[in-house]
């Protein structure tokens, strides 16, 4: 076989490579999520391997494709534009949460998320964790889905399905994150700003935890941990 035949440029198209990157990162998250409860004590550190590998692929992929932090969504110039796009879906979802919580006989408790933590600190923590999730979901996966399938409903649906699927087998959380995934992926494709998405992620998690009965959310547990 000649050297030209071994060149990735000639054997893998750009769309296929983007799809491969997407599947590769999702598989790492699935491995970490589902394997976490099978190990205990210090052995849990082994789960860092797929997470580090996923971050390595994401970072090196950005470099290989010449994507800047600004391209990815770490920017402030379109923050307000992204927030404007998010406000209505957030209001709608908030009202829906209140109705669902009320219909299911739950009580509203704004301090239920982590009762022993100061709520502002918890919201900041939620922002940080939301930023990590939104970076992986939108800053990387959405961008690769867009490269593979083009911008529009197909790539938005793929991202929502991935986000919902990563919250299996928790049925309530899967439905909620699928819906959130559609909104966030669509907003990111119009105004790529990860800070706005992280704010939305944190506030919506707070609203969901405060209104939906805890028995339905099953302590936000996902993967094998759901059964423990």
């Amino acid at each position: 076989m000649s050297e030209a035949n071994l060149n990735p440029e000639t054997i893998v198209s750009d769309r296929a490579l983007a799809g491969w990157e997407l599947i590769s990162v999702v598989s790492s998250i699935v491995i970490a999520e589902w394997m976490f409860t099978t190990v205990s004590g210090l052995s849990k550190l082994i789960i860092a391997i797929p997470i580090l590998l996923a971050f390595a692929v994401m970072i090196f992929s950005h470099r290989a494709r010449n994507e800047s932090l600004r391209d990815i969504g770490f920017r402030f110039d379109n923050f307000l534009q992204a927030m404007r796009l998010l406000v209505l879906p957030m209001l709608g979802s908030g009202i829906l949460c209140l109705i669902v919580g009320w219909r299911l006989g739950g009580t509203i408790n704004l301090f239920r998320w982590h009762p022993n933590r100061f709520i502002l600190f918890q919201l900041m923590f939620g922002f940080g964790w939301g930023l990590v999730q939104q970076y992986a979901l939108q800053g990387f996966l959405n961008r690769r889905a867009t490269m593979a399938l083009g911008a529009g409903w197909q790539s938005v649906l793929i991202i929502a399905m991935i986000f919902g699927g990563l919250h299996l087998p928790n049925p309530a959380l899967t439905v909620i994150t699928f819906a959130g995934g559609i909104v966030w992926a669509a907003v990111y494709q119009r105004a790529p700003n990860l800070f706005a998405l992280a704010v939305s992620h944190s506030v919506m998690t707070w609203l969901v935890v405060s209104t939906i009965p805890p028995s339905l959310l099953h302590h936000l547990r996902v993967g094998l941990n759901y059964f423990s």
């Binding site: 060149n7 990735p8 440029e9 893998v12 490579l17 491969w20 990157e21 590769s24 598989s27 790492s28 491995i31 394997m35 099978t38 190990v39 205990s40 004590g41 082994i46 391997i49 797929p50 590998l53 390595a56 692929v57 090196f60 992929s61 470099r63 290989a64 010449n66």
Partner: protein, 168 residues
């Protein structure tokens, strides 16, 4: 000489291609290693035993941990899939030692059958495996489940029946 555009690229598409292949191999090995180690942690392939007999009065058998034949194994009785009782298998069973399954004669278990309703019932006995971690314990079935029948006459003579789980 000015560096070419090619050399400015920190990480090329070809490197990314190679990284993806390496990552796939590492993760496949990791998942395999985790699956094997999980199996070894939650199961004990050295447990040997048998559920010999089950009727309306007693349920008995024996169990030995061949890796540590001097220790006693804890067993749990379930009737009709309901937990009934837990005990240590330390009853006298000389035949187990004679068959060279254990180094001593104290690996039997005998449960008193609780009051049951008339009809057919199924007994299962499980050995408890604690593994290396305190976080989880697993149950391994001993022998095969045994079905037995309780006569209405026996039920009448022992008083009203309760469900197996409520006898404790």
């Amino acid at each position: 000489m000015k560096p070419s555009k090619e050399t400015k690229v920190f990480f090329s598409r070809q490197n990314l291609f190679q990284l993806l292949i390496a990552k796939s191999i590492i993760e496949a090995l990791l998942v395999t290693a985790l699956a094997v180690s999980f199996y070894l942690v939650v199961t004990n392939p050295h447990l040997r035993g048998w559920l010999d007999q089950a009727d309306a009065r007693t349920i008995s058998g024996w169990v030995v941990n061949e890796k540590s034949a001097g220790t006693r194994v804890e067993v749990q009785l379930f009737i009709d899939d309901r937990f009934v009782e837990s005990r240590v298998a330390d009853s006298f069973r000389p035949d187990v030692q004679q068959a060279q399954r254990a180094t001593d004669e104290w690996h039997g278990f005998v449960f008193q059958t609780p009051r049951l309703g008339a009809g057919d019932h199924e007994a299962r006995v499980f050995a408890i495996h604690r593994g290396a971690s305190d976080e989880r314990r697993t149950l391994q079935i001993i022998g095969k489940p045994l079905r037995f029948h309780v006569d209405a006459a026996l039920t009448d003579s022992r008083g009203p029946a309760t469900s197996a789980g409520e006898t404790q």
